[in-house]
């Protein structure tokens, strides 16, 4: 029946039944064979509909590239912060050896504090990757259940919490995020 979920063994059973009846047409009426073929058609239509609903196409086109972009950004931010901190430490040592004033050292200490903000942003980016992996996992489970490899059990993970649609975490300019100057202009326009 259209809209009904079928297990793989049911599909196989009907296919075998149709093949069996077709191979022995003299033993079965055309109407019965026609009805079984119609049932098979309904099952295939339903399966195609369920497969299209799992919408796994964007896993390759969207989720994977998004996750790799985030991880690239994490690696980049970590490297940049490390370089800044190491550079600042080197300058502090040079300033001390040269007998420079407190202002020079304080300036470099400030740079170190600023660089440490990378930990917050990379943490949020990694959180986005984790959410992406969970989404991919859900889609795979839905696909496997549809094609019958997980029989009779609903093993889909729980749906993610309904987060505030505004919470997207760090966004690069390429991802539609605004720079500080653009934010200042936008605020000034109110």
């Amino acid at each position: 029946m259209p809209g009904e979920s079928y297990r793989r063994d049911q599909v196989v059973s009907i296919i075998n039944s149709v093949i069996s009846k077709i191979s022995q047409p003299q033993e079965h009426s055309v109407d019965i064979i026609r009805q079984e073929i119609a049932n098979l058609k309904d099952m295939l239509e339903d399966l195609r509909s369920q497969l299209s609903m799992t919408d796994v196409r964007n896993v390759h086109a969207e989720h994977i590239p998004s996750a790799t972009d985030e991880l690239d950004a994490v690696a980049g931010a970590t490297e940049a912060a490390t370089m800044t901190i190491m550079d600042a430490c080197e300058k502090i040592l040079q300033a001390q050896q040269a007998g420079a004033g407190d202002d020079a050292i304080e300036g470099e200490v400030t740079r170190i504090y600023e660089a440490c903000t990378f930990q917050d942003i990379t943490g949020q980016r990694i959180g986005k990757v984790v959410r992406t992996l969970k989404t991919i996992d859900e889609k795979i489970h839905a696909l496997l259940r549809t094609i019958g490899d997980i029989a009779g059990e609903d093993r889909l993970p729980p749906a993610p919490a309904n987060n505030d649609s505004l919470l997207n975490g760090p966004s690069s300019v390429q991802q539609g995020g605004l720079s500080q100057d653009e934010i200042d202009r936008l605020l000034g326009s109110f």
Binding site: Q119, L166, L187
Partner: protein
């Protein structure tokens, strides 16, 4: 009336300890001394109801109460406490939502000490 960094009360709200430490140390370098911390919006709202803060510096992404919800709660309680959002949320709809909720200024992470001081000056006046 110009604000006095030595006596002004600042509240820093962020679920990341590192971030709170960074902002605290930057504020100390600028000259502020009375700095309280909260780990989420709910805790911050409790503190704000008990103490008059001259400025709240808040992250957005926190649980159980976000920085935006904290801001809305503060404004709904008819408190005009100056509020600066410091967050990685940088899309236009975020800025608009924060502005409509009554934010005084908005800093996108990562930020420098110079930016922080500049935005605080814009909100509080020279100090």
């Amino acid at each position: 009336m110009p604000i006095n960094p030595q006596t002004a009360n600042i509240l820093v709200v962020d679920d990341y300890k590192t971030m709170r430490l960074v902002i605290r140390n930057l504020l100390i370098q600028i000259g502020f001394r009375n700095i309280d911390e909260a780990t989420d919006g709910q805790m911050a709202f409790g503190l704000i109801q008990d103490k008059a803060y001259d400025l709240v510096i808040s992250d957005w992404n926190m649980e159980p109460m976000t920085g935006l919800d904290l801001l809305k709660s503060v404004r709904a309680a008819n408190m005009n406490t100056p509020f600066i959002m410091v967050t990685a949320e940088s899309k236009t709809e975020n800025i608009i939502a924060a502005k409509q909720a009554g934010v005084n200024n908005y800093i996108v992470k990562p930020f420098s000490a110079e930016i922080l001081k500049s935005k605080m000056t814009a909100v509080l006046g020279s100090f």
